[in-house]
């Protein structure tokens, strides 16, 4: 498709013979189905729940500030109430005393809702194999994206948001009754560890830690 801008003095005017009816038509109309349209909207405006557990929450909050700026991906409108949020980030350690509360907060979120497990503690308990810590939030809640790190850098967390966006965009969520399979079909999860292995293997020089 060709794009052009209109002139200030002549907003309705034509630009050097390009404004065929067909092209104007192409510019103004999107042909898609409702489901994809809604998915596109959801993907670009994921509202996170302002919820944090421990250290990871600081890095999650950092990802909203200017240097990292999660607003670039439409995910900066943090909500104080689970009822207004689409995404819950389990940012930190899942404590046994806190687990029932986390589950209750999750239940208060309205579908569609997604979960990012941020950091090693939420992923698996991490270095806290200790009596007061649940060994991974997925022991009692579904998780869509796992972000490794202790804590993950804000950039790593943003990559998690990008992965979730892809997932949300490709998710099949029928808006009404259709012939065929009912219910939500989530795309198959990818393991970035596997996907990026070849690229990592190419690396032959490791930066000297003795210099900056």
């Amino acid at each position: 498709m060709q794009w052009w801008t209109s002139k200030v003095n002549d907003p309705t005017g034509t630009v050097s013979g390009n404004s065929s009816f067909e092209k104007t038509f192409q510019k103004s109309i999107i042909l898609t189905n409702m489901e994809s349209m809604v998915a596109w909207g959801r993907k670009n405006s994921i509202w996170p729940f302002n919820f944090g557990l421990s250290c990871c929450y600081v890095e999650m909050a950092t990802s909203i500030t200017s240097k990292y700026d999660s607003a670039r991906f439409g995910a900066e409108v943090i909500r104080g109430s689970p009822r207004e949020a689409d995404m819950m980030i389990i940012a930190g350690t899942v404590f046994i005393k806190m687990a029932p509360v986390i589950k209750r907060l999750y239940e208060q979120m309205m579908a569609p809702r997604w979960i990012i497990s941020m950091g090693s503690c939420a992923n698996s308990g991490g270095m806290y194999d200790i009596y007061s810590v649940v060994q991974g939030v997925d022991k009692f809640m579904p998780v869509d994206v796992y972000v490794p790190g202790c804590p993950p850098r804000p950039d790593a967390f943003l990559e998690g948001i990008l992965l979730l966006r892809d997932q949300v965009g490709n998710e099949k969520r029928p808006l009404n009754w259709v012939i065929g399979d009912q219910g939500i079909v989530k795309p198959r999860g990818v393991s970035l560890k596997e996907e990026k292995r070849a690229e990592r293997m190419k690396m032959t020089e490791i930066r000297d830690p003795g210099s900056i």
Binding site: N50, F51, G52, L53, S54, C55, Y57, V58, E59, A61, T62, T65, S66, K67, G80, T93, F95, I96, K97, M98, A99, P100, V101, K103, R104, L105, G125, M127, Y128, D129, I130, Y131, S132, V133, V134, Q135, K139, F140, C150, P151, R153, P209, G210, S211, I212
Partner: protein, 579 residues
């Protein structure tokens, strides 16, 4: 002033069971359980140079102990650590308990601050305190069975049945958390009017983490606050009994997670006291420089979020940007942002990278201008002032009574900084001022922290200009990991290196306490070694624990929005409260 051991020996003959030698050289006395109340009351009120602050109260389960070293027979030992400001000295009292159901009289009547400490000891050790106003679990959920810091309690989650959360368990857990005013002796009505119990947290943006406060309200006026903590209990103390001395360092990073290496500091110094390691000068100065960088980083998080608590959106974006600059330096030196795990027993992990001077210098040039900007933006802002001046006021006496240290104590006008009063790691050689306030309100607490940012920058500048030459790690055999160079030349060094790296160092039996002036207050590690590769007992005395305990006292009488200012000005981190 007369030595405290002499005084007690003279005034209370027969009350003292024995005097113990410790590596930290604090007077350590074993007292008969029957007389502990009398002695504590005497030490707080009557003695010349009184011990006004109950600095710490904890316990040790002695039942798995091998090296008793002539200590009195004890199954559980309750340890009181007191601080005297007049004497500028700590004192440790130990009480042996041998009963099947160990119990002691509560000291809440002498120090109100003992309330939470005794509840913690009850929760984690099962020791009862007779006469305690509300002896109830504090860190673990009410439904928990057993006392985690007893030696017989499993440490690992994987030693226990896998965690599940079926519907009915969810229901019981939620029910057990329901707040019942009558349990806390609180009335539901006042003068014929119904009072409101507002449940703030455990998930609330204003509580800075998973903390639950139940606020008793008459309209908007706070009548009482009941904090419910323990949501962030990560078992850091039990973890110390399982990790080797060396591999525990990363866990210290995560206690008070904004302070980074500032947490490594007291831990490695306590281990060095136990092992008798002298740290080279260069390592000392590197440690100070990194700690002060973390103080700046932590205070910047506080600065932005505090302003945000009071309704300002902009400062948090600016201070977080500056924090990025500090973290960039930290990452260049340590390789990580928040949890660098960079100090080692006997030194630091590695030499400073080439070019570190330029990084520090550029920050020193950049930062003062920004601080001035923040003064105009925040500290001189009339709304900020209106919401903090005269709010949450307390006096020096009250602060000492409740165990408050750090900026919260200095804001009341007492010039008490452990970097000056009990210098460690060579702080006595640095020039810096100890900022204080006068009124002990939220504004003064903020003012002290803002000034501390400048003083930290001054210390960093001195580190930059006077960095000593020499090794970054001690050549003591217990340094971990040991110096590598000589290992391939003689078998003795090779064996030591191999053992220290595989099993970890074996630290001689003994006990030591070491504390530092951390970002939030005085943070101390009390370590007991039983001559093993792991610690026998690791006690972390964190500043946020007593600070949060003090919040109800200073919030009563103010309104609900003031509570946000009080919480923000207290500057606690929940991992530092619950550990």
């Amino acid at each position: 002033m007369t030595d405290i051991v002499t005084i007690l020996d003279h005034d209370f003959p027969g009350y003292i069971l024995s005097v113990q030698d410790t590596k930290d050289d604090f007077p350590t006395l074993w007292v008969k359980p029957l007389h502990i109340m009398e002695i504590l009351r005497f030490l707080k009120t009557t003695v010349d140079g009184p011990y006004k602050m109950l600095y710490d109260l904890t316990a040790v389960d002695e039942q798995a102990r091998i090296h008793h070293n002539g200590q009195p027979v004890s199954d559980f030992t309750v340890v009181y650590q007191l601080l005297s400001f007049e004497r500028n000295a700590f004192l440790r009292l130990k009480v042996p308990l041998t009963d099947a159901g160990p119990a002691l009289p509560s000291v809440t009547g002498i120090w109100p601050a003992a309330n939470w400490y005794e509840r913690e000891v009850y929760d984690l050790f099962g020791i009862r305190f007779e006469g305690h106003p509300h002896l109830k679990r504090i860190l673990m959920p009410d439904t928990w069975v057993g006392h985690p810091l007893q030696k017989c309690h499993p440490a690992r989650a994987t030693e226990m049945p896998p965690y599940q959360l079926p519907e009915n368990k969810q229901e019981t857990e939620q029910l057990s958390m329901q707040f019942k005013p009558e349990e806390w002796g609180l009335d539901s009505t006042a003068g014929g009017d119904d009072l409101l119990f507002l449940n703030l947290g455990p998930q609330h943006p204003g509580t800075h983490g998973i903390l639950r406060l139940v606020v008793q309200l008459d309209g908007e006026n706070i009548m009482n606050v009941v904090p419910d903590i323990g949501f962030h209990h990560r078992g850091a103390e039990k973890m110390g009994e399982r990790q080797s001395w060396h591999s525990y360092i990363p866990y210290t990073d995560r206690v008070e997670y904004l302070g980074g290496v500032m947490n490594n500091f007291p831990y490695v110094m306590a281990v060095e006291k136990l092992a008798g390691i002298t740290v080279p000068d260069r390592a000392k100065v590197i440690r100070i420089m990194l700690s002060e960088l973390f103080r700046i980083s932590s205070h910047l998080v506080w600065y932005g979020t505090f302003a945000q608590d009071l309704g300002m959106m902009t400062p948090v974006f600016l201070t977080f940007n500056d924090r990025e600059k500090v973290l960039d330096i930290i990452a260049a030196i340590c390789g990580a942002r928040m949890h660098p795990n960079w100090f080692r027993i006997g030194g630091v992990a590695q030499e400073l990278p080439k070019g570190w001077e330029a990084l520090i210098q550029s920050f020193i040039d950049y930062f003062p201008k920004r601080l001035k900007e923040y003064d105009n933006l925040v500290m001189k802002n009339s709304i900020f002032k209106a919401r903090t001046i005269g709010i949450g006021v307390y006096s020096t006496e009250e602060a000492i009574e409740w165990g408050i240290t750090g900026p919260g104590l200095r804001a009341t006008g007492l010039e008490w900084d452990f970097r000056k009063k009990q210098p460690y790691s060579g702080y006595e050689q640095f020039e810096f001022e100890v900022p204080t306030g006068q009124n002990g309100d939220c504004y003064d607490r903020a003012k002290v922290r803002v000034e501390e940012l400048r003083q930290s920058l001054r210390i960093i500048q001195q580190c930059l200009h006077n960095m000593p030459e020499g090794p970054y790690k001690s050549d003591h055999p217990l340094t971990t990991p040991p110096v590598k160079e000589r290992t391939l030349r003689d078998i003795e060094t090779l064996i030591h290196h191999f053992l220290n790296v595989t099993w970890g160092p074996v630290i001689p039996p003994g006990e030591a306490f070491c504390g530092v002036e951390a970002t939030k207050g005085h943070n101390g590690y009390y370590l007991v070694s039983d001559g093993n590769t792991t610690s026998y007992r690791t006690r972390i005395r964190t500043p946020s624990f007593p600070h949060l305990q003090f919040v109800p006292t200073i919030s009563t009488g103010y309104t609900l929005p003031d509570l946000m200012a009080i919480l923000g000005a207290t500057d606690y981190v929940l991992s530092d409260v619950d550990r």
